[in-house]
Symmetry: D2
Subunit: 304 residues, 4 copies
Amino acid sequence: MAIMRIGKAEIRVMDLEESVKYYTNVIGLEEVGRSEGRVYLKAWDEFDHHSLILQEADSPGLDHIAFKVEHEDDLAKYEKKIEQFGCTLKRISKGTRLAEGEAISFELPTGHQVELYHEIVRVGTKTGNLNPAPWPDGMRGIAPHRLDHLALTGEDINTVTRFFTEALDMFISEKIMTVDGEEMVGSFIFARNGKAHDVAFIKGPDKKMHHVAFYVDNWYEVLKAADILSKNNVQFDVTPTRHGITRGQTTYFFDPSGNRNEAFASGYITYPDFPTITWTEDKIGQGIFYHRRELTESFIKALT
Amino acid sequence: MAIMRIGKAEIRVMDLEESVKYYTNVIGLEEVGRSEGRVYLKAWDEFDHHSLILQEADSPGLDHIAFKVEHEDDLAKYEKKIEQFGCTLKRISKGTRLAEGEAISFELPTGHQVELYHEIVRVGTKTGNLNPAPWPDGMRGIAPHRLDHLALTGEDINTVTRFFTEALDMFISEKIMTVDGEEMVGSFIFARNGKAHDVAFIKGPDKKMHHVAFYVDNWYEVLKAADILSKNNVQFDVTPTRHGITRGQTTYFFDPSGNRNEAFASGYITYPDFPTITWTEDKIGQGIFYHRRELTESFIKALT
Amino acid sequence: MAIMRIGKAEIRVMDLEESVKYYTNVIGLEEVGRSEGRVYLKAWDEFDHHSLILQEADSPGLDHIAFKVEHEDDLAKYEKKIEQFGCTLKRISKGTRLAEGEAISFELPTGHQVELYHEIVRVGTKTGNLNPAPWPDGMRGIAPHRLDHLALTGEDINTVTRFFTEALDMFISEKIMTVDGEEMVGSFIFARNGKAHDVAFIKGPDKKMHHVAFYVDNWYEVLKAADILSKNNVQFDVTPTRHGITRGQTTYFFDPSGNRNEAFASGYITYPDFPTITWTEDKIGQGIFYHRRELTESFIKALT
Amino acid sequence: MAIMRIGKAEIRVMDLEESVKYYTNVIGLEEVGRSEGRVYLKAWDEFDHHSLILQEADSPGLDHIAFKVEHEDDLAKYEKKIEQFGCTLKRISKGTRLAEGEAISFELPTGHQVELYHEIVRVGTKTGNLNPAPWPDGMRGIAPHRLDHLALTGEDINTVTRFFTEALDMFISEKIMTVDGEEMVGSFIFARNGKAHDVAFIKGPDKKMHHVAFYVDNWYEVLKAADILSKNNVQFDVTPTRHGITRGQTTYFFDPSGNRNEAFASGYITYPDFPTITWTEDKIGQGIFYHRRELTESFIKALT
């Protein structure tokens, strides 16, 4: 049928054990497996086997993101559309990574590696699916519900956005335009899942990652997240505030390798007929940080 | 493509002006039009022309619910599937109601009238789509974001649920089963929009409505809603609590005609591959009211 | 100078170990000592040695409440005032209970035992007083900040209230009056500490306890408390709601012996010149439960 | 008996009408009177006639703060203590300002003007004191409950703090000490009212004001406040965060004249026996801004 959501991301970290400690104790993900130097993690409220893979490397950054499709035969359907758009792709065979089935892999116009997949081992959420409690006992750290979205940078936002809407049938919730209306410098892209975004692109160097976001429930959970980060001496980029774009509530900070993380809450609901919101670049400060109303240098420059 | 959401409901009220006052001042919807004895209302965060229609009548209850499809030609596609399921349907021509285009109309196995539509005048949300504020000035009453879902009753939950999954390609987030596992006595149904439910069915008499729910942001908004209801002497059915089913936060109350309303917040995200949660009937108390852990007579018996 | 706060309460429980488990794991108090069949407990944010004492007995209920005075010589001052009011009292010598100094003990006009004390071992809060974190790691259960207040019943609310204002220099935040204005049927009494109440009296049988309340921070903490109670199968009396009286947010439930507990949040600030609020008995439903607007039988009748 | 609270502050503003608009529409205070070029304001939840006075002047800053004492004869008592401490003072006669009775006026060691008073016209809160609603209809702007505290700067924090504890019988909740423990560079002072502070002093130039704080209920109200400030293009100093000191939640911003305002929520309860918390100057970043963990230049330098 269609893409359901961003289901996984693999990121590069520089000290694997330190990173695992951070993502399990501070973020509060659960380690679900290790294989060939990679550590597989999931959030308590996710039912698939993993949503985040850590890969030890010499530099931080993104290895790839992956979207889960509704049916196995969606892979063939999107294979065709992606090739028609002009991207080359390849099949990745089942078992290449832990618990994963067959996938297709391709490169975005911005140089980022992306995969589509359907098959993955289902392990269920921590609360189960028989008369479940609303939340599990024994949560650790920030304990987000899920991997929510990633934000990436690229030179040509217009083309990558067109790729997502034309080749992947995804939708734009918001876009940032230069004041003259001639260039798109940011876009926020969602699948048919009600989310404000599964992935976002911001004008900048190709192949770079701006942040990985985890979903927490509400503004109080953002405060709890920020308290936990401070207790653990995690470096903040942006303390709790509201986004203009998505209306969500947020705090940004860095993992031990310098990859920016976000704890993101709330935001509106989207549908395919959601009227795309436009921010003009002169208001981008308020668009990104609704209160401060101006960007900070670190928020613009720190990319991995 | 597919159904996007429950888009509208038309309900019967007994004193039209008193009801309009209630739905605009207490609930905080906006009156967007009147025509042929009907009053059309929308929530501030909805972009379509209306989501609730009040129809003056001798008794309260549901006139019909309507689902919005992604494309105009989805009407023909679902027309076929609905007929295949064995329901008779008819086309409703454009202009039958204010601001609405062509629709198809049919009766559920439970006797409720349902419509599918694509075309409706788009008026935009109150915050607009150019550099919008997160919320508009001048909100009144509870000020929900949207019509969220309806809950209806019927004799044969299994068949009506099968209708939604087979004929309408919708999904089941949760179901309530008798302890012996033989009969489904409740089901919670969603479209591809991340919601916990667009419509729910509970074992009971055919053609009846249990409640109309409006979405508010969070547990504090549920408190604010309850405070406003008490200030306005609105009759409560259930004061603020958490649902086991959907994990959402809630309060139930009655409109001036006796139609039950809900202010509903939070809940998890769903996708087509969401693992359906099962509640066994012996735990239904906790499933419905996570704290009280038992149903009340009024909650079971008051239907319109 | 004056009374600072309700500092301690000793209650009777029927199965000591089961009660200790409940008060430490579900409520989340810390056991700080045992002596002569009594278990001493404190909340994480209290700096004195203990605030709750459990005493094993054949029936539940209150042994005594105790108010902490600002200076040691306040004991002599209040001794005189209490005697002038007509109550007999006695001195309790240091070391009678664990970690406690000298105290005075007397009986209220309602038959309840009360003590005043100044000396008690100070152990400090869990976050310490050097560059403290806002909350400690490793909290368990509801994890309230403190013992907040007790509500007791008595035949003559007017006299016991007069005792608190005249003999103990305390203040009335709210009172409930019969509609004819002739009899006081409820009073809410505070010391110079900004609290909405340290102790409350409701018309009913002498010597009985209505509830022991613990303070949690806000409406979200009341939800978390209620979720934890349900997970632990604790019997609720009243699920989360707002009080009219004190404006606070609340949920009521029963300890394993049937003593009613409350998780109470928010409320206004008081001062000696706070204008006493009057509730007329016809509005007492809304006064107690702002949303439901009527009392329940269990709330009235279950006393220990 | 004793000081009850900071009851009023008079500040200098440069454009009176613009300031009145800001304090009534954005902050949401109520104008209660005008006289001799001064505008008198109160918050909806305060029962005395006014808590903030605006005085038109050529430069912003503090005219005076005033503490309300419990009894009229406390004025004479403190007059003696203040003189013993070495401050000269004078009586201000009834009617010098609108709705105010007799007061005593003196200068702090830091050069700030302070008054003590008991008499002031009581007008009651907006919800009244007969069967009141928890909050009034028709609130505007941030709508704080009360003037909460002021923070002032001075060269000699030790002496001014000693003045408050010795001459005014007030208490220290927290202090900031140089790392060698030799100098106090910050102190947070409260009366017997449970507040985290009525007034604070930070090392800096004499006679200057750092901020005027208004109390809002909780972390969600801080978000609402920040949203309203952004909608009104008010200049922020610090976007929403938590304080280490007081544990409270906060946002700082500037009135049209450049006087810093704060919306402050939560914080712990204090009593006369509260164990003073010490922050060492090397941790002051975390003490002031628990998340960012470093001071900003504007927060240090912008004084009026």
